[in-house]
Amino acid sequence: MIGKRSFLQNIFLALAVGSVLFICLFPFIQILSTSLKHQFDWGNPSLIPMKINLEAYRELLGFGKMKDAPIPDTIKRLLDNPLITEKKKDEIISKYRSTGDVFPFPRYFLNTFILSASAASISLILAVFGAYSFSRLRFKGRSTIQRSILFVYMVGGVMLMVPLYQMSVKAGLTKTVWGSLLSLLLIYIIQTLPVSLYMLGNYFRTIPYSLEEAAATDGCSRIEAIFFIILPLSAPMLVTVFVYCFIIAWNEFLFASVFIKQFHDFHTLPLALQSLFVSKNAIWDRIMSASMLTLLPVIFCFMFVMRNLTGGLTAGGVKE
């Protein structure tokens, strides 16, 4: 039979797929593994921790006590100096031991979530109406507008950064934290909108127009037809577009590092992770579990999209 594989071919295929998969997943396995290791295990090349250590997760999620940061030897030696008063010593130690600003993970998580979810929601809403008009309405300059939107992708983010920042400064947005967040939100929306429009527009075109005509004869206005017919039929694509925008915003580092660097309380996870990496609180298991927790929503989103993408919602409506 055509396309039937022999046993040997099957094995080779499995090996090939397996190795690609392993190479792709290896960094993630490494992250997971290290995040679960105890300090004595860090240098161990084995991926399987000798003993599972959940301390870092507990600490980040706020269940456990913050682990004391190790006091560097030079400082210890300094502390041994009898000339320093007890009071001064305590001050120095407490400065090193202070855990208040180590890594307030829930706070950063919430910042990122709110920012990403708002950007994704607004982008989705705009994309629905934009894509609908591109795919269904006839108006002057439609194709010009449609094409020029893709221009956003012709210029890389780095090049746009300075002009965009200057624009925000001129608009007086960077003076306050809310203004900066608003600029960031707008940038995320603008960055994701072209692809959202494209994906949704193409999807809308697969929905037969006669369904809307049927809705019209059933008494629906155009807007009602969009809500009652088009959107329910596009549910999988809406989810996909939302997740796409959400993940872009969730992982974005460049613009966040420019616009909200100075507002520590409003850092997003990529920004916070980067600060963590270079801070005195950079302990391997903490870094890795923070990375893991940052990844988690992304993984969750992908699984959700894959379950929903089986599609086929419009089948059976019209005679082909």
Binding site: A214, I229, G316, K319
Partner: protein
């Protein structure tokens, strides 16, 4: 219930004009069928009435009110689409009651209507299924149900039976007739199938290439077609069109004289000396076998027609015969003893024959 009027309608898509000066009157409660070959503009006409297309020129009136500028959702029409256009994400029940729900009809009314429609269309066991889980015929019935469940002023049907097998089509045809008898809703029905047109319509409108060729009752159209197109389009097998020459008292066909029932008044039709060339139209069903009817003087007779093929069709047999250089079809009942390869004398009532002008293709009134 409402009347529908189209006044001097022209419709162009870009530079292509697809409807030319369409005028149509549909009385309150009438059942009008638009029939014509595919591409002649039937769907476009229907969509103009529904408001899904805008007329390039002319007026559409529903209930004597000009509705050109009124959106489809405010015209209170119900339409069965050529491609069903069922909502794929809704089950059969939701598909059917969607319009009533949009109109904010009370719950018990919706339930009563749903029950009734699903009984008439035998959809009771399918109510919870999605369109994708239905066969073509079932989908067509749901599409029908979605239209007739509503209290619409006008029902518009666009080839609703085109996808059914012969038996179901026949059954649905009776169903549609019964529904119309019951609800008396003004209905406009589009089909390319002339049998459907003849059996369903109170009034039939024959269209070709964006023109209305003729309208009238099915019998008028069948018995008095205006031109060659209507004559051959309506009726199956279609009317024989024979080259013949007309003289004051008779027609000459392949050298045979067929007597007219009365002499032609030469003031009505000027006849040159050598006769007037024209088309003689006779329906296959109007032929009789001379051996069976015997010599009846008032019938015209085509003699020595050579029988090529006989197709037995139960009660009827259909004969392909050759008269001189011309082929024609005749449908005789089963008493005929004719055999393939032999010859036969075919009689017909001259009053049932039609004469068409060769140039204009219009019917000449001779009887």
């Amino acid at each position: 219930m409402a009347s529908v009027t189209l006044k001097n309608i022209y419709k162009s898509f870009g530079y292509v004009e697809v409807l030319h000066n369409i005028n149509l009157e549909v009385d309150e409660g009438a059942f009008v069928v638009l029939v014509g070959p595919s591409g002649c503009g039937k769907s476009t006409t229907l969509r103009l009435i529904a408001g899904l297309e805008d007329a390039t020129e002319g007026e559409v009136l529903i209930n004597k009110r000009v509705v050109n500028l009124i959106e489809p959702q405010h015209r209170n029409i119900a339409m069965v689409f050529q491609n069903y256009a069922l909502y794929p994400h809704k089950n059969v029940r939701e598909n059917i009651i969607f319009g009533l729900k949009r109109a904010k009809a009370p719950k018990d009314l919706i339930n009563r209507r749903l029950e009734r429609v699903s009984r008439i269309l035998e959809l009771e066991d399918l109510l919870d299924r999605k369109p994708a889980q239905l066969s073509g015929g079932q989908r067509q019935r749901v599409a029908m149900g979605r239209a007739i469940v509503r209290d619409a002023d006008v029902f518009l049907f666009d080839e609703p039976l085109s996808n059914l097998d012969a038996k179901l089509r026949h059954q649905m045809r009776s169903e549609i007739r019964r529904i119309h008898r019951e609800y008396k809703t003004t209905s406009i029905y589009v089909t390319h199938d002339q049998v459907e047109a003849m059996t369903l319509g109170d009034k039939v409108v024959v269209m070709r290439d964006g023109f209305i060729e003729q309208h009238g009752s099915p019998m008028e159209i069948y018995l008095k077609p205006n031109n060659i197109f209507v004559a051959t389009f309506i009726g199956a097998p279609s009317m024989n069109m024979l080259d013949a020459t007309l003289f004051p008292g008779f027609v000459e066909l392949e050298g045979q004289k067929l007597m007219l029932t009365k002499r032609i008044n030469e003031n009505d039709i000027p006849l040159p000396k050598e006769g007037k060339k024209l088309k003689l139209g006779i329906r296959p069903d109007f032929f009789l076998d001379e051996d069976i009817v015997g010599k009846e003087t008032h019938l015209a007779i085509i003699r020595n027609a050579h029988i090529d093929i006989i197709e037995p069709l139960g009660f009827d047999r259909e004969l392909d015969v050759q008269v001189g250089n011309q082929a024609l079809k005749a449908r005789l009942d089963l008493r005929t003893m004719a055999k393939e390869g032999e010859t036969i004398n075919l009689c017909f009532d001259m009053e049932r024959a039609h004469f068409f002008d060769v140039g204009t293709e219009k019917r000449l009134s001779i009887h």
